[in-house]
């Protein structure tokens, strides 16, 4: 065994050690990042529920958390737009996804951990709706996910997929803006996004996509969230770029490792 030890390269100096170290480093970085972004993207399941907080509570919350930018009377300031006519739906969308309160003046408000409880969001929304009404919550049947899946998927491909990706994985826009992925978006927030057109998303009013159309699109998206990809690991559903990168790095990398092993002399 002594001779065996002499020939063997000690673990740290092995030529595989550097590769293994880089691999482990990449795995840890990727894992931590994936975990962190999943935690950030996670939005709480908020269905409009019977609120125990009143409009007056909403007004206090608004004055404490929103009025600096949006003005004490929703009139807007230099730092933020007026909220006349945005309605409870937009308030609920912006606050329940953590986009508001705004993190920083940047190309786009990112999703982040939600700052308020469901009741507080509800109270804020009722206050804004009471002062200057706008789009309201839809009938629960629009969000039930029982619509026509095929029709919904076709409408999604025509109206939404160019930005949000055909699998709802999101995508880049110009100058740091992006269309977010729809993997964890709630039915109500999908509806709210179509009706209110948050940030750079165009508005899809009921004459463009009827309530029935919206119900179909929401159903198709919910179905995509619940069903796995039949083709195996989806690599983020980003298409040829992610798949090509994976096969070039890991596929060809493995092939090179195997060739080195085949041609190396046995110890």
């Amino acid at each position: 065994m002594a001779r065996f030890k002499k020939h063997r390269q000690s673990g740290r100096r092995s030529p595989l050690a550097a590769a293994a170290l880089i691999g482990i480093g990449l795995l840890i970085t990727g894992g931590v990042y994936a975990g962190a972004s999943a935690a950030v993207a996670a939005t709480s399941e908020t269905e409009p529920a019977a609120s125990t907080l009143t409009v007056e509570d909403g007004q206090k919350l608004f004055q404490a958390n929103c009025a600096t930018c949006h003005g004490l009377d929703l009139q807007g300031t230099d730092a933020g737009p007026s909220l006349y006519g945005v309605g409870e739906l937009a308030v609920h969308f912006q606050v329940s996804t953590g986009r508001m309160p705004l993190q920083a003046q940047a190309p786009q408000a990112p999703q982040k951990p939600v700052q308020f409880t469901d009741e507080q969001i509800e109270a804020l929304a009722s206050y804004v709706q009471a002062v200057a009404p706008g789009p309201a919550y839809p009938a629960s049947e629009v969000l039930d996910g029982e619509g026509d899946l095929a029709a919904g998927a076709e409408l999604f491909r025509i109206n939404c997929a160019m930005c949000h990706n055909v699998a709802g994985a999101g995508g880049a826009l110009t100058e740091g803006k992006y269309a977010p992925n729809l993997h964890h978006t709630t039915a109500l927030n999908m509806y709210a996004a179509m009706v209110t057109g948050p940030q750079n998303m165009p508005v899809f009013n009921d004459m463009n996509l009827t309530l029935e159309d919206k119900r179909d699109i929401i159903s198709a998206l919910l179905w995509m969230q619940e069903n796995p990809s039949p083709g195996g690991y989806a690599l983020g559903s980003l298409g040829p770029v992610a798949e090509g990168l994976f096969i070039w790095i890991f596929g060809i990398g493995t092939l090179i490792a195997v060739t080195v092993w085949i041609t190396a002399k046995s110890n």
Binding site: H7, N200, P202, P228, G232
Partner: protein
């Protein structure tokens, strides 16, 4: 392995430095030869050999087990019509087959590297240059063939053969020509779309006509000509759609910068632009309602919808063609005419 003659003998001459060289190499590099043979651990230690043998047959038996697993998995994860079943079935059957084949390969390589005989041989490459006699023989064969066939002498036969070979390519060219539209001028087809004066703008894919009042501020409508929805695929639905698709947007009137001759092309802040990118024809539809920028997803060309869809970034060469629109008596949006320029990327007759 026995080599009676030096296989490189007839090539040695070409290794001498040419007489044109000014410097004679007095100390050429000496061939160090192969390093001394090093015995493998499996040659020196019978226990190691035993381990290697065990590894090899374990791999082969694992391969058997994986093959059986693939068959079992096919039955355990049946295809019952759901996507989850397809996912499980292909994954587990695939894993079994992949491992079965991989284990055979790894086992075979390990067998040859660690267990099979480890003697070293030197087998020189054969020379690149043929022996002079071989080369002369080859020339003689060609000359004899030319003499006996009369290829060089009988010019009529040779030239007719060359003509026949050239002619045999012509049917291919004809077939390729057949891929282009027949009986129609391709340039004419590229320059015109289905839009005509008075044709209503309709929703994709239903073909429901759009009223100007329905297009609220910040909206983006994906539009086709109303008549297109009635076309079947046999009547060229996709060909017509590929040219006629339009994106309809409503901007605040004060944001619109319009050329003097195009002021009548929009209606109350509603503008319609071709959705076919002027670079290589991808559908441009990533509309940002606050910046009024349109982004092409293929090569990141950006168009400013507020300013005549002019190119503000990327490889596109021209602004997106604008569809002149107005409203009819019933309030529906209609085209004033076809596009006034060809849509989509450049072609030979359009620069």
């Amino acid at each position: 392995m026995a080599h009676d003659v030096d296989p490189l003998e007839h090539e040695r001459a070409s290794w001498k430095p040419s007489s044109g060289l000014a410097v004679e190499v007095s100390d050429p590099a000496v061939n160090p030869g192969l390093p001394p043979h090093r015995e493998r651990i499996t040659d020196k230690d019978p226990a190691a050999m035993q381990r290697a043998v065990r590894t090899v047959y374990t791999l082969f038996y694992l391969s058997v087990a994986a093959s059986i697993w693939a068959v079992v998995a096919y039955m355990v994860f049946p295809l019952d019509g759901t996507l989850a079943a397809v996912h499980n079935n292909s994954m587990f059957v695939g894993l079994g087959i992949a491992f079965a084949l991989l284990a055979i390969g790894i086992g075979a390589i390990h067998w040859s590297k660690a267990v099979m005989s480890d003697k070293e041989y030197i087998e020189p490459r054969h020379a690149t240059r043929g022996r002079d006699s071989t080369r002369e023989g080859a020339i003689a064969v060609f000359e004899a063939a030319n003499e006996e066939s009369g290829f060089g002498r009988r010019a009529m036969i040779r030239n007719s053969l060359i003509a026949a070979v050239v002619a045999s390519v012509i049917p291919g060219i004809t077939l390729f020509r057949g891929l282009a539209p027949e009986g129609e001028d391709p340039v004419e087809l590229l320059e015109h779309t289905m839009w005509k004066k008075g044709m209503r703008l309709a929703l994709d894919p239903t073909g429901r006509p759009i009223k100007a009042s329905e297009v609220t501020l910040g909206s983006a409508f994906h539009v086709i000509p109303e008549e297109l929805a009635k076309l079947s695929h046999h009547e060229g639905y996709l060909e017509e759609k590929a040219k006629a698709i339009v994106l309809l947007m409503r901007l605040p009137q004060e944001d619109l910068i319009e050329a003097e001759d195009r002021k009548s092309w929009s209606y109350d802040g509603i503008v319609a632009y071709s959705k076919v990118c002027t670079h290589v024809g991808c559908p441009v539809a990533l509309y940002e309602q606050l910046t009024h920028h349109l982004l092409c997803p293929c090569h990141q060309s950006q168009f400013d919808v507020a300013d005549g869809a002019k190119v503000i970034f990327g490889p596109a060469a021209r602004p997106l063609p604008q569809l002149p629109i107005t409203v009819d008596d019933e309030g529906y949006l209609v085209a004033q005419s076809d596009f006034t320029e060809p849509v989509g990327p450049s072609f030979w007759e359009r620069h």
